[in-house]
Every structure is written in structure tokens, then in C-alpha cells.
């Protein structure tokens, strides 16, 4: 998956989890949870959405990496 594809996927999953949230509002170094007011259940739904779309397992220890835009893009583009 390219970085652009990863971003597209993140956006589409995020739209289902939090329709009003906008990925562009997330600053560099900010976590999705902070920037978009995602609670733990929203974030889990986000991870579930990514896992379903990619078939990746996404263990809990990877959640930190998935919680920033750059980290998530890197994770998706290197492991899928």
C-alpha cells in the first residue's frame, strides 16, 4: 500500500467511526485521540476498521504507532 492509499483508507475508516472528524485537523505529533476527541471505543473502532480492510492483525502493542497520522501511514504502507 502506498502512503496515499494509506491516507485514503484512514480517511474512509475515520468517516465511519467519527463522521465529523477531519484528518486534516490532526497536527504533526498530535495523536488522533487528542486532536479528534476520539475515546477508547472510537479508537478501537478505527483500528477494527483498518484491520478489516487490510487483514492485518494489529495487536494492542501497535496502538501507539497507529495513533498518529504519520505512524499510521508508515504502519499501513510497510506492513500491507
Amino acid at each position: 500500500m502506498t502512503s496515499d492509499e494509506a491516507l485514503v483508507l484512514m480517511r474512509s475508516v475515520l468517516r465511519q467511526v467519527a463522521p465529523e472528524a477531519d484528518l486534516d485537523e490532526v497536527g504533526e505529533g498530535e495523536t488522533l485521540q487528542e486532536a479528534l476527541d476520539l475515546d477508547s471505543i472510537d479508537f478501537l473502532n478505527f483500528v477494527i476498521g483498518l484491520a478489516e480492510a487490510t487483514g492485518l492483525e494489529m495487536p494492542e502493542r501497535d496502538y501507539d504507532q497507529l495513533s498518529t497520522v504519520a505512524g499510521c501511514v508508515h504502519y499501513l504502507s510497510t506492513s500491507h
Partner: protein, 454 residues
Amino acid sequence: MPSLGADMEAGKVTQWLVKPGDQVHRGDIVAVVETEKSTIEVEIFENGTIDELVVAEGERVPVGAVLARLSARGPELVPGEAPPAPAPPLPPESVAHEGGRRPSTPVAPPSAPTHPLEAHHAAVVSPLVRHLAEQLGIDPGVLSGTGPGGTVTRADVERAVGAPREVEPLRAQTGRRGPSSPFARRLSSELGIDLAALRGTGPRGAVTEKDVRLAALAARPKETTPQEATNEDRQAAMRRAIGALMARSKREIPHYYLSTTIDLSAAASWLEQANLERPVADRLVMATLLFSATARAVKRVPEMNGFFIDGNFVPSGAVHLGVAVSQRTGGVIAPAIHDAERLELEELMTRLTDLVKRARVGRLRSSEMSDPTITVTNLGDLGVDEVFGVIYPPQVALVGFGRMKERPWAEGGVLGARPCVVVTLAADHRVSDGMRGGRFLTEIDHLLQEPGKL
């Protein structure tokens, strides 16, 4: 019009999912109602046949008003008899369905009139997407969603507009004839659209109402999106509704507040272990444990669980745990997880995830909105240490969990760091006092020390 939360005074029927003659069963979703705070799917609590829809789509009526009439027996309408036309003042959307059928109903085979809801059930649509679909004259109920879980996405709607023929057979069944319908002609003159310039997508190239609306939409300058104005109105209405209820709570309920810091080491390591073996969709979050402990604890301290009505406390046998969900557009709603104290953690997690998801996209059900017996808020997820709650009348208690974080913890003369959470209780002094409240918090603590038993 059911009361969908104590702060609701009126609601607007935005969509009927049934029509006269339809058979309905207890639990079927029959209408979509918009309140100041959310969009709710209204369930029916009787079996029977719809005789009459009293309130038209788009109409706003107070709580308690009759929405529809139902007869307990089988259908009374003879086949072929047209259902009564809805009363005037109708919004244009309704006039468009002058054939007496919603455009979505033809997708159900005529031989199966008892399940008119299935087509709608298949389509999960967020309010934003639904709004877009309405603007474009598309019925999202007939689209097959490509989003997660079959959700109809913005892209699905846009695609349907781009390929009108995909949905047009449904419109064709409403029996429009000729190059343009009288309604399309009237609409076009109202909207200032030149009918001759339009390419018709209807049967035999007829210009349909939708073609006119699409042309009008395309001609409209981008800045004036009516959606934004509506959202602003709704925001204001929502703040008023919340304000009125919270003012009533502060005025009538003599609150008292207690707090306890709970060591979550046992819960956290149990959770980590449990999640190691689980695929992502089955994983639990700490909130599930906290909520389960709350629901089980309140069963043992019944003064916290129920309603204060007409000067008396009415305890509830069941624990319907209201979960405060903040809406990203502002405001908070607290739908209920029914019989939460009896649910296994996995089931509670599933319900919680589903509830939060639906709360976000505005697809809660009426039964969830009307009867929480105690409310819990997990605001700590978003970073605060403690929550000082305001009770939702007529409930008598609200439990708040702060953020789970490592804190210094002294035990047996040894100082260490442990994951902790501060749990707070706001309770009603008319019903209980601090000792019982303290007992309740202690119960929650004890239950969280043995997470395997939850």
C-alpha cells in the same frame, strides 16, 4: 411521539419506514425522529397493522402526540385500495411520492408486505450522508453501501447521482408518464429551471422531479449550504435542551458528591492478557470493565438505581446503564445498555461499541433513549482526572470515571506506581446519603480487583 430522553419536549418525524396497511411487530423500527440532540429510530411496542400515519414527514409535534394509528387485527385495507393520501401542508419531498408509496418500498417484493423494514435495515446511513442524499433526491435506503458493515457512504450517494439509471427503475414504478410530470414542471418554474434544457432520466426520457432538483442544486452557489444553517439551529436547540434539563437537575436534586481512587493494576494486567489472545474485533477496553463493575455494584446498592417521580423514589429491578456519549457536533446523549449487570464482558463490549458507533452517526433507538436507570460517564478517556457529574432527572445517580493513569500508590509501607482511576459519584440526597454512596463506590472498587469474575 415518545419521550426520547428527559430533556425532550418535541420531535420531528423525518422519515416513516411504514405505510398504512403494513403489518408491524413489537420491536420493529417504524419511523425516524429528530430531536434537539439526535436522530432516533423509533420502535413500535405492539403487534398490529398500521391504519393511519397521523403526522406527516417533516412535521414537528410535542411528546405525547399521536404519530400513527394501529389496529391489533390483520390488515383492513383491501388489496388495491389506495392508502389515504397524507394531509396537506406537505413538504415537496412528500408530494413527490404522490403514488402513495415511498420510493423505497418497491424494492420489497409485493408478496412480502410484512417486512418493509428490511430494505432499510440493510442500509446504515449517517445523518450527513442522509442529508446529502435528500438534497440530491436519492433514497439512501435503496443503495447498497460499500462502507464498513454495508454502510452507505458519501461516495455511494455521489455514485448514484452520477448513474441515475441505477435507481431510476424505482421511480419508474411510481408511474410517471410523458416527457415531464406536472410536478416536475411546477417545480422547475418555482426553482427557475429551464425544463427544455434538462436531460430527462425518467421513463422514455421524461424529466423527473429529481432532474429538476439536481439542476437547481448545481445552479446554486456553493456558499449557501442550507446544511450549515440547519446545524447551527440544531446546535442552539440542543444547548437549550441540555440547559433546561441540567438546570432542572440542579434546582430539584440535592446532589452530594463522593470520590474514590481505585487501583487498576489487577484490571489492567487481566485486560492485557485477555486481549493478547483476541483478534482486534473481539478486544476489550478498560471502559467495559469499569461499566460492568458499576452495573453489578449498583445491583447491591439499589438506592442508586431507579427514578425519582412525584416525590417518591421508584427503584428499578433491572440495571439499564446509561452511557454518556459526547457528540462531535457538541452535546452529550446517554443511551442505555439494557440489563447491563447480566451481560458477560464480551457482550457488554459488543453492545458498547455498537451503541457508541450508532450514537455518533445518529442511529439510536427509542427504547435506548427512554429508560436508563443510572448513568455512567467515561469522560476520563478524553483526559480529565475526575468528573463532577450532574444527575439526569429523573435518575438519582451518576458515576464518573476519570483518566486511567499511573499514580504514586503506597501499600504496606512501600511506595510504588500503579495505574489508577478516580471514580466519582453524584447522588440524590432525597433518596440516599453518603454512607450508601460510599458503599456503592467501594463495591465498584472490590469488583475491579477481581476482573476475571466480571
